[in-house]
């Protein structure tokens, strides 16, 4: 077939006329993909196409010849709140633009003004991903088809934060009504590097590309086809990129939630979903989970940490310093307290709380306070004695930790006195200097603010606030200086105690002891409360390198095995209907680190009972069947049942419970739905050539129609001589 049809130039010409212009681009695409196809590439591709039709091969193969699909892309998606939409979107059929690799800010002129082939798809590298450049692109968006951001392999020097300079500005406690001098970060700007890009609305797609072979292909394609040489304009075919990220929701949350409810059509179309997930909590003493509302004689010290982070791109939010350092410390402290609280029970209960969705106007903590107020939580606000929140503790200068308190509460000096003194005391023993900031400094962004918003309760936020990479994709383990010697196997890395792990263990010991003392425990017990650096380093490895490791595989229950991944955790909270990555892991870890192993069957364990008659235990405890390890000479894992107080509860903003999306008191963040998110590159022919091809095609079609009409109308004349002999035989 190939020999007969493929290499005949004349046949190629005729075939060529019948194909639409899209196919034309395919031929150029073929040249890039197979550079050694030289002379008759047109014929080859068309005969190949003919072969596909004959062999019944699907059209996908043609698509593969035209396009190079991009792997490892992460998009920026649209989020909405009560009043705004933020994020990015493409048109329904994807945005197509000619590639332009931006080399400097001056180079923007080519994209926005002088370049002859708009719209352009701009390829950016880290130093150019700044507010000024992005805003120029946003304002010149008629010439900008989209932006692709190449993620560097190491963190940028000097910091980078796409978040706002005053995180959760309007949902914390510091409003004009609370204290006018502290509102809107007037005294302390918590995120001075924040460019606010995460909160801008772009009407073109922005993707991030991992710096690997794909980006090398893109660069080559740009250099060969698009780069202007000596001021001359580049000639067709040009290298182009198409990005699809069409978003269904628009305007704001009230609009999209309303449209979710209106459904005339046969197949209902949902456009957005609320952000949220589950909070995790546990207590040092079991609390009856079925009886909600106030518990008599119960006084709890809440130890809190946040579970989530975010970044400009939806699925890369490592949150190492902003979230992982805090909740790993709290988990280690809870582990350190297990024996002490069982042997010498302090007067008060310690409640460990891990909040989800805090990056989006405190979803988790506002829900806990709401549930406590509405008697939907086993405790209420009156049961709270004090709050100790662990924020960013991974990086400390001169082993210093700040004990942040609310300056408004501090005017009444005695409120936080007990907690501060306890913290100072245990810190001194561990050679950590716990310092108090001056009176004009408000609390950093923290869950505790949502408790203060309800009523003045004593509380301290333990943190050494950093903002170099706040809420960005670079808040990763490199930032926290967690590195492993290169020769170690994954199994050895899991056990390798880094300096960061040692430092965090120290903080965890301090937190554990301070909590014990705050709960009214005996001073003599304090020496026995020591966090385990092995556990800390295993947790850090699990959250920052890969959660799919031998340690977590033992702890996790068989049905949660899907939560384990071979990459660093993504701490973006995501939509409420989908489980976020850290929640299940933290739930299982808290159970294993604070609970006790029981010798009961898997069936009883899964049914939340200790034996067949047991109907009471499920109110007090939660049972998790862990996979366990396989004995040395067997491949089958030997599971075990863990009894603990570790539970999850809804972290959905109360705004969605009350269906009130304009109320400013609660988070109203939603994420838009989308149908397809992908990107690809290909070569485009000039507009004139495309139109010429189309025109010739239409011309041939019309000519053939005319010819057919003419022939059929004169058929009796044209074919008469041929018919007569046959007629004569009958």
């Amino acid at each position: 077939m190939l020999a007969a049809v493929g290499f005949n130039p004349r046949c190629c010409f005729f075939l060529f006329l019948f194909f639409k212009f899209k196919l034309f681009t395919m031929d150029f695409g073929l040249v890039t993909i197979c550079p050694n196809v030289k002379p008759f590439f047109l014929c080859r591709s068309f005969s190949a196409f003919l072969l596909f039709i004959l062999a019944g091969v699907s059209c996908n193969s043609v698509g593969k010849k035209i396009y190079v699909d991009l792997n490892n892309t992460v998009p920026c998606v649209r989020l909405l709140n009560a009043t705004h939409q933020i994020g990015c979107q493409s048109s329904l059929s994807g945005n197509v633009g000619v590639l332009h690799v931006l080399e400097s800010e001056e180079n923007l002129d080519w994209v926005l003004d002088s370049g002859p082939n708009p719209p352009y798809m701009v390829i950016l590298e880290t130093p150019l991903f700044t507010r000024s450049i992005m805003m120029k692109l946003k304002n010149g968006s008629s010439r900008v088809a989209g932006v692709a951001f190449v993620v560097p392999n190491s963190n940028p020097a000097g910091g980078f934060s796409p978040h706002t300079s005053c995180p959760n500005e309007n949902s914390g406690v510091y409003t004009e009504g609370y204290d006018p001098t502290l509102a809107n970060c007037k005294n302390t700007v918590w995120n001075p590097l924040g460019s606010g890009l995460s909160y801008e609305d772009f009407d073109f797609p922005i993707f991030s590309l991992k710096d690997d072979n794909d980006t090398e292909v893109i660069r080559q394609c740009y250099i060969v086809h698009n780069r202007p040489v000596n001021g001359s304009t580049p000639r067709y075919p040009l290298c182009a990129m198409q990005l699809f990220s069409h978003m269904s929701a628009v305007t704001n949350t009230p609009t999209c939630m309303r449209r979710n409810d209106i459904n005339f059509s046969i197949s209902p179309e949902y456009v957005c979903d609320p952000l949220g997930d589950s909070n995790v909590w546990g207590s040092s003493r079991p609390l009856n989970n079925t009886a909600k509302g106030h518990k008599m004689w119960e006084s709890v010290v809440i130890a809190a940490a946040r579970l989530d982070s975010r970044s400009f791109f939806s699925n890369v939010a490592p949150g190492t310093e902003s979230a992982v350092s805090g909740f790993v410390t709290l988990l280690a402290a809870a582990h350190a307290l297990r024996n002490a609280t069982q042997e010498a029970q302090p007067n008060r209960t310690i409640l460990y709380a891990f909040f989800q969705g805090e990056a989006f106007d405190y979803i988790g903590s506002s829900r806990m306070v709401y549930d406590m107020e509405k008697n939907q939580f086993p405790l209420d606000m009156d049961n709270i004695h004090s709050v100790l929140e662990i924020g960013q503790v991974g990086l400390r200068s001169d082993s210093k930790l700040w004990l942040h308190t609310d300056p408004v509460s501090r005017r009444n000096a005695t409120v936080n006195k007990e907690l501060i003194e306890n913290l100072q005391l245990v810190a001194r023993e561990l050679n950590i200097s716990g310092e108090e900031p001056n009176l004009s400094q408000p609390l950093p962004p923290s869950s505790f603010q949502r408790f203060l918003l309800n009523r003045p309760i004593p509380g301290v936020v333990l943190e050494d606030h950093r903002s170099e990479f706040y809420e960005s994709m670079f808040d990763n383990r490199e930032y926290l200086n967690i590195t492993y010697p290169p020769e170690l196997t994954p199994e050895e890395q899991l056990e390798y105690v880094t300096d960061t792990a040692k430092a965090l263990t120290e903080v965890a010991t301090m937190v554990g002891r301070a909590l014990y003392k705050q709960a009214g425990g005996e001073d003599s017990q304090l020496k026995n409360i020591n966090a385990d650096s092995q556990i800390v380093t295993q947790m850090l490895y699990s959250f920052l390198v890969q959660s799919n490791n031998s340690w977590l595989q033992q702890i996790i229950s068989p049905d949660s095995i899907g939560h384990l991944n071979d990459r660093p955790l993504n701490l973006y909270v995501g939509v409420y209907q989908q489980a976020s990555e850290p929640t299940a892991l933290v739930h299982h870890l808290l159970a294993n680190l604070t609970g006790s192993v029981l010798n009961i069957t898997q069936e009883n364990c899964n049914n939340q009972r200790e034996d067949e008659e047991d109907k009471e235990s499920k109110h007090m405890y939660y049972y998790i069947w862990s996979q366990g390890a396989a004995p040395p000479n067997s491949t089958e894992r030997r599971g075990f049942c863990v009894r603990s107080t570790s539970r999850v509860f809804r972290a959905l903003s109360p705004a969605f419970e009350e269906h009130n999306y304009t109320n400013k008191a609660y988070s109203t963040w939603t994420e838009s739905r989308w149908k397809s998110i992908r990107g690809r590159i290909f070569l485009v022919a000039s507009h004139e050539l495309e139109m010429l091809t189309l025109g010739v095609g239409i011309g041939v079609l019309l000519t053939s129609l005319l010819l057919t009409y003419f022939i059929s109308s004169k058929a009796d004349i044209l074919f008469s001589s041929a018919r007569e002999p046959t007629n004569a035989t009958y």
Partner: protein, 112 residues
């Protein structure tokens, strides 16, 4: 049905029916959303145009002519009203917010 084979009286009654059915059902058009019912007028105009204006004169032709003319007029009016409403609706749907959404059968994705 072939109009050619019909006697002239029946042609007239048919044309009349097509013309009147809309006026009789007018309340339905406004209350029940039968917005495309005046489409019958278009059918009437196209179908009887030859009969009314091109055929040699016969007694019933005068009335058929009137009905066809009136149908055409009604059709034009209806097209004008529908177009006006459509332009107003498309232009202001986003501004009307909730009302606009409730008036829509399918809500376009990704635009206000």
């Amino acid at each position: 049905m072939n109009l050619e084979r019909l006697p002239n009286e029946e042609k007239l009654s048919l044309c009349r029916k097509y013309y009147l059915v809309i006026l009789v059902l007018m309340p339905l058009i406004f209350s029940g959303g039968f917005a495309f019912l005046p489409f019958l007028w278009l059918v009437n105009v196209v179908w009887f145009f030859k009969e009314a204006f091109l055929k040699p004169a016969y007694t019933e032709q005068l009335l058929i002519k009137t009905y066809v003319k009136r149908s055409a007029l009604g059709l034009l009016l209806w097209v004008a009203v529908l177009t006006t409403w459509n332009i107003i609706f498309q232009h202001f749907r986003a501004q009307w917010g909730e009302v606009g959404d409730n008036l829509s059968f399918t809500i376009p994705l990704g635009i206000p």
